[in-house]
């Protein structure tokens, strides 16, 4: 990893800056900085290297290359050979290949053969060095959890085109499915699961919906929405996860020494407070937005986890386990 100051980093930036600045109107320094993930000062410094070379020798560049940098914009005239972006290199072509497999791409082009065909055309026309062997890709395609019913794609399309979405949803702890009309403001991937965050017309408020609990989804053909300026996804993110609790409570759960190390690791990543007991057990204090979540969470550890308090959550766990025992006969 570099800090952006190697010759390769700087040439890569210049290969974007020069063509952009070769447009008649030039390019705004702030826009270049944002597109390149750097500062306008660094871009000016990169450009200075181009102008500096004129002082020692014109090299192969025509003498009349002109670079104008003012407070806001940079313009380049006669940048022969640098008036277009260069073709995709091998790594960029690999990135494109992987990108065409991901959720967002699939929501535009649903047919895998169409995506493969696009990649083939792009490799033939846009790439300077095609990957010889896709199996040599050092990373697997990013996992995005299977979406066998294409529901995630439907919700993503609705979010992208600002279409209201009808959803059949299984809320945690509910005994029946519910139908909701949702304006999906955003689609988010957090802690290994996909969510949509949007305005739920049934609840008349912004809610978080876990994608794997949306049993059916259909974007409305003509009902649109606008994302309100007041919406900020960041207010729904806590310690790397999505969290929204109109009525939050706390639960203390004790985990036996046999599972304590996994629980400690999870608590550290999630930012949960925990204490260790003399026998090696740990007690974690969870923030709870949904009582049925903490019961389900504790049950996944079998007898190695026990909700200690509050009493009402402990009572809920007891009810659930009694029902389970009854069901098993």
């Amino acid at each position: 990893m570099t800090d952006g100051t190697t010759a390769a980093d700087r040439l890569t930036r210049l290969l974007h800056v020069l063509p952009a600045a070769a447009r008649p109107e030039g390019a705004a320094l702030d826009e270049l900085a944002e597109a390149l993930g750097t500062t306008r000062e660094r871009i000016v410094e990169d450009v200075r290297d181009v102008t500096d070379r004129a002082f020692y020798h014109p090299g192969g560049w025509p003498d009349d290359v002109v670079i104008l940098v003012d407070a806001e914009r940079v313009r380049v005239q006669h940048a022969v050979g640098f008036d277009r972006p260069v073709q995709l290199n091998t790594a960029e072509t690999l990135a494109l290949a992987l990108a065409l497999r991901c959720t967002s791409a699939a929501s535009h082009l649903q047919d895998p053969d169409t995506r493969a065909g696009l990649l083939e055309r792009a490799e033939a026309h846009l790439s300077s060095a095609r990957p010889e062997d896709m199996d040599a890709v050092p990373t697997a395609a990013p996992d995005h959890a299977p979406d066998p019913a294409d529901i995630r794609q439907e919700v993503l399309r609705a979010a992208r085109h600002r279409r209201r979405c009808a959803m059949v949803y299984l809320k945690s702890g509910d005994d029946d499915l519910s139908v909701r009309m949702v304006d999906p403001y955003a689609v988010a991937y957090a802690r290994g699961a996909w969510y949509t965050v949007g305005h739920c017309h049934r609840s008349d408020g912004v809610r978080i919906f876990r994608m794997d609990r949306i049993v059916e989804a259909a974007a409305a053909p003509d009902a649109t929405f606008e994302v309100p300026d007041s919406f900020d996804l960041g207010t729904y993110i806590t310690d790397g996860g999505l969290y929204h609790a109109p009525h939050e409570s706390r639960a203390r759960v004790r985990y036996a020494p046999t599972v304590a190390r996994w629980v400690r690791e999870r608590a550290e990543v999630h930012g949960d407070g925990w204490t260790e007991e003399p026998d090696g057990a740990v007690v974690v204090e969870h923030r709870v937005a949904d009582p049925s979540w903490v019961v389900s969470h504790a049950l996944q550890y079998g007898p190695a986890a026990e909700i200690l308090e509050p009493p009402e959550l402990r009572g809920l766990a007891r009810e659930v386990v009694e029902e389970m025992a009854e069901g098993l006969g």
């Binding site: 700087r10 210049l14 974007h16 290297d49 181009v50 500096d52 070379r53 090299g59 022969v80 050979g81 640098f82 008036d83 277009r84 972006p85 260069v86 073709q87 091998t90 790594a91 960029e92 072509t93 990135a95 494109l96 990108a99 065409l100 991901c102 967002s104 791409a105 535009h108 792009a122 033939a124 026309h125 846009l126 300077s128 050092p138 990373t139 996992d143 959890a145 299977p146 066998p148 019913a149 529901i151 993503l156 992208r160 299984l170 005994d175 802690r191 290994g192 609990r213 049993v215 996804l233 790397g240 999505l242 990543v269 389900s296 049950l299 996944q300 079998g302 659930v320 386990v321 069901g327």
Partner: protein, 397 residues
Amino acid sequence: MPTTPSKLQRWLDVVAFLAARRFPVSTEELWEAVPAYAAGVEDGQAKKGSAAERMFERDKKELRELGIPIDTVTFSMGHESEESHGYQLGRKDFQLPYLKLVTEAQAQTGAPGRSPPPRSGPSSSSSSSSASSRAHPSATFGVREPEIAAALDGLREVAEIPGYPLARDARSAFRKLAFDLPPDAFTASPVVHVADAEAEAAAAVLPHLSDALARRKRITVRYHSMNRDETATRTLEPYGLLFQHGRWYLVARDTAHEPDAAPRMFRLGRMRDLEVRAAKPGTPDYTIPDTFDLSAFTGRKAWELGEGDGDPVQARVLFRFPRSAWAERNDLGTLEARTPEGHQLRSFSVRRTDPFLRWVMSLAGDARVESPPELRDAHRVMVDAVRARYAPPGGDA
């Protein structure tokens, strides 16, 4: 004024010199034009083995890696002239064709591919014997709106994945593909990836692991095994990187104690003190067999892992409605039967029964094991053990 050109200036000299010429140039011409190499030319001849030659060879290699197609060509200037060796920028491979949004009908007729470029630029180079064997691409690349939207949104999404090793390349590809398009041709993506503390820590390690993997270099790392609850130094041969369930994993062979060890998954969040073997940086330390399939490590449930003894158990689980609709939507197991009430019997292939039963437990009574009897008994024992935890003091369990 600088007297010694920087590496960037040297590279710019090389690229600018080649970009401005339609025909191949000899080594001597190129070196004389680029001040940093000029000392390598004596009496009009390029000196073999000179520092200039070594510098040029390094630059050429690195520029090619950055996607600058410097072709080595054989050419002759006149009809009967002697053949020379030289260099040429693969111009048709150098600059990106103009991307142009087309309609479905235009895409099917291929019309845009025959259109002239909308802006003037240097004419195409044509040497007497180009080294490039690739077909010349069209000056214009016709692309339909859904296609460019798929490419740009896909690139934007992978670039946002926490720690993704190709994120920089994805951003760079995005900038290039978006260059010709009006801003309203692509809308802001509604997709967001949220990074937690482990993902942020993994982001610092990933570039080094990705580099080691690409160069097939062994690594040493302090790794905490959760099963053994111990931290030990391991020497690993990286085979692949996986991002799943929100975590990065390295698939690698630990050959220090077992030369024939099979590849296993190592969670990046459990690694410390990573070192990539520095010796012989240009030589691979190992090879990855053709039979290795990284995708075989993806999407595996905890109960599907492990060698086990004999065949896996075929477990049948009854899902009550509406949880049955959830199981069906997520394609969990194999559907065996439906009941009039909407319940579903689904079967699973299970190698490790404990994680499987704990998963069934997490469904909080919405699912129960029906068969085989010994697994159902084990489920009942687990439920009873949990029931005992919540029994009122002094009451019956």
